[in-house]
Symmetry: C2
Subunit: 467 residues, 2 copies
Amino acid sequence: MNQIKTILLAGIFFVGLTSTGLAQDSAAEARVLIEKAQASTLGWDLVESLTTEIGPRLAGSDAEERARDWAVARLTDLGFANVHVEPFEMEGWQRGSIALHVGDPYPQRLVATALGGSIGTPVGGITASVVRFATLQDLRDAPLGSLKGKIAFVDGVMTRTQRGSGYGTAVQKRGAGASIAAQRGAMAIVIRSAGTDYHRNAHTGGLRYDDAQPRIPAAALSNNDADQLGRLLKLNAEIELTLSMSSKRIGKVNSGNVIGDIVGSEYPDEIVLLGAHLDSWDEGTGAIDDGTGVAIVTAAAKLVSMHATPKRTIRVVLFGAEEPGLIGARAYLKANSDDMDKIIMVSESDFGTGRIWRMDTGIARADEAKADAILQVLRPLGVLPGGRTASGGSDVSVLSGAGAPAISLGQNGWEYFDLHHTPDDTLDKVDPAALAQNVAVYAAFALMVANAEGGFHAPEKQETAGQ
Amino acid sequence: MNQIKTILLAGIFFVGLTSTGLAQDSAAEARVLIEKAQASTLGWDLVESLTTEIGPRLAGSDAEERARDWAVARLTDLGFANVHVEPFEMEGWQRGSIALHVGDPYPQRLVATALGGSIGTPVGGITASVVRFATLQDLRDAPLGSLKGKIAFVDGVMTRTQRGSGYGTAVQKRGAGASIAAQRGAMAIVIRSAGTDYHRNAHTGGLRYDDAQPRIPAAALSNNDADQLGRLLKLNAEIELTLSMSSKRIGKVNSGNVIGDIVGSEYPDEIVLLGAHLDSWDEGTGAIDDGTGVAIVTAAAKLVSMHATPKRTIRVVLFGAEEPGLIGARAYLKANSDDMDKIIMVSESDFGTGRIWRMDTGIARADEAKADAILQVLRPLGVLPGGRTASGGSDVSVLSGAGAPAISLGQNGWEYFDLHHTPDDTLDKVDPAALAQNVAVYAAFALMVANAEGGFHAPEKQETAGQ
């Protein structure tokens, strides 16, 4: 029955070919690629190698530098052209140690992790009573000065969703909470982790200090420990916390993006840019964030070069320093601003190992038929039509924001935020079959985009905005 | 349909009553108790209170002392008689800190936890190359002196089973591995955790040093990290580990057992002993090990006193210092050796929150018919017949080993070793409905044992062995 369906789909697709600008041979090549990719272990081999040999890869660290060396060696070995590092500087940060204790009458340790970029506490820590806020808005509503001498605790359980959309709300307290609390006089802030698991791993992640406010130490509690603190505060609103953190910002350090090309046969200057990021938070080994992305786009481009003939160049960009705030992406834009008009597509894999199930487009309306034709080839892999807005992904949103056409290949994110930014982000969480599905989708997608007649163009709204 | 079944079962049961020595009114009372217990939140309230207000309760620590105070207050409030602490001394231990790092060319941190009772390393740690053994037997087979200047790594994945039987094999490397490695010259030992999860929590637990061997530091790697170390050793057998631990043994400290009775109406000197343990490892909050046990037996006894009339005394014993090796149980036996013949049954809840699904008996053959009659009342709760050997549980195995009749109420242990002895042993893992099933089984069981005509006697084999 599957065979009959495939034939029917192929027939439907065939009808649309000449009118959509997707060459018939490209679709046929894409189908071969899908078979080859699903049988390939290259994606697994890459993520295993990166997470084992390098492990955690904090932005700006020696480990991230070793990851760049690893990436240059792997891309070179795989036959990519133009393999090089584009270096940039960034402000470095070290995690140090953390200890968080509840005082009498319920003395006990809580599990917490420093937020990326946070300053530390004085030696000996900060001891203060705690004011709980159910939401970040409740903290915003607190009067200025009302938290003087206190530690703010911002609670609020993250919602689990297929697309990970609960993160958008949950992450705000992580990014902005410290400065909002500081403005109200707080000495420190602890938040409930932006994460959906109950495995007593706190979820780290970057914060942004507002330069107009004092910088205060900021940490995330595991979900379990946020529950515990909530219960303890109900028993006794006067309990104190002692927070000791030796985190520090260490001034300028080096990072970089690693780039490699599969050169196009007809339009080598036109670029299909596949992104992922090399850096990771330092608590896990960066398997799903974003070792899998590195593996998926690298394996996909390599498989295209082995089994097909892309007319445009497929460029893999392994960004540095995504986690502290898309620093590598901004550096790429700056270093390549003259060539932005040569990018006909950006797409990034940075959402773990869940299967790709939808395709969202951020392209000109005139190019939608070509995207639909591509989708028809991807449909047997479970990919459904999405919406008509897309940034392409985390780092490459900087490029689509600057006018590059983008397609987002949306993964199942149901379990992603169980692991994201925790010690639990390790190789064992990667599903080899789901990884191969991702590689297959990206390979077929990259080939068909590279060979699409007339290429792709930015959506009208952005074109207007750019004028 | 359920009603009809219940009537049929009741009929079957009725026939056996006079011949088995289980009073008819006792079975009827037990059925009422089951209904009351399943509707009661007392078990949940107790485990929430213990794990929140006290949290981790390391044997011999101030926290364990606070747990004893908590237990005395709770048992008193609940109306238990004869509430008291039986104190004892034990050798104390402090966890301290731990850091485990892989050296060049793959520098990275691994997640590990000190084994309970382990000595620490010298300041600055131990740096040495690693020899991996797939099993403890392989370590035993290594020649004496062959590990001089090395760290031993004993691997071996624990098997997941319904009854937790994989633990019996896996735990041997934790208990005995250090001294076996030391005998072969090792400077330290790291083991794969005796646990079934992949949540990057190492599983702690007690070790036993052999007095004939040098004491060496011992730690457990999380399953994920054991995988990682195995992969790294395949890449490069020469890599070194640096292990720094500040654990120490701190000499004599105080612990104690907390005891409370529901006094029997006819035979107050005869005792049905329900056990659990108050202490826990210090990484989690001791919810499933053994906060649930404390809650289950306490709530069960209380519910019996509220809704029925036990003829014999139901004694709750909340043992101290189970984790370092049944120290509280041995102290109880020593303090109560003159009254051992008054114990007509021991049973302990120390296997988390899984539902009770089988009943194993360690009683005289002549008493089996009474046990069968009890089982008929428990069957609607999902309890099936087990085997004809039983220790009654962890601490009370010391008592059954000394001749007390025992019945083990076996819980579903499929997921227990995902959490056991890890930071993940927290309140959120307790299923309220499963907890209530446990309370209902223990309550009905305790009542029917307390009221069984002629009581229960030790199995023949042990009687023989005792002569």
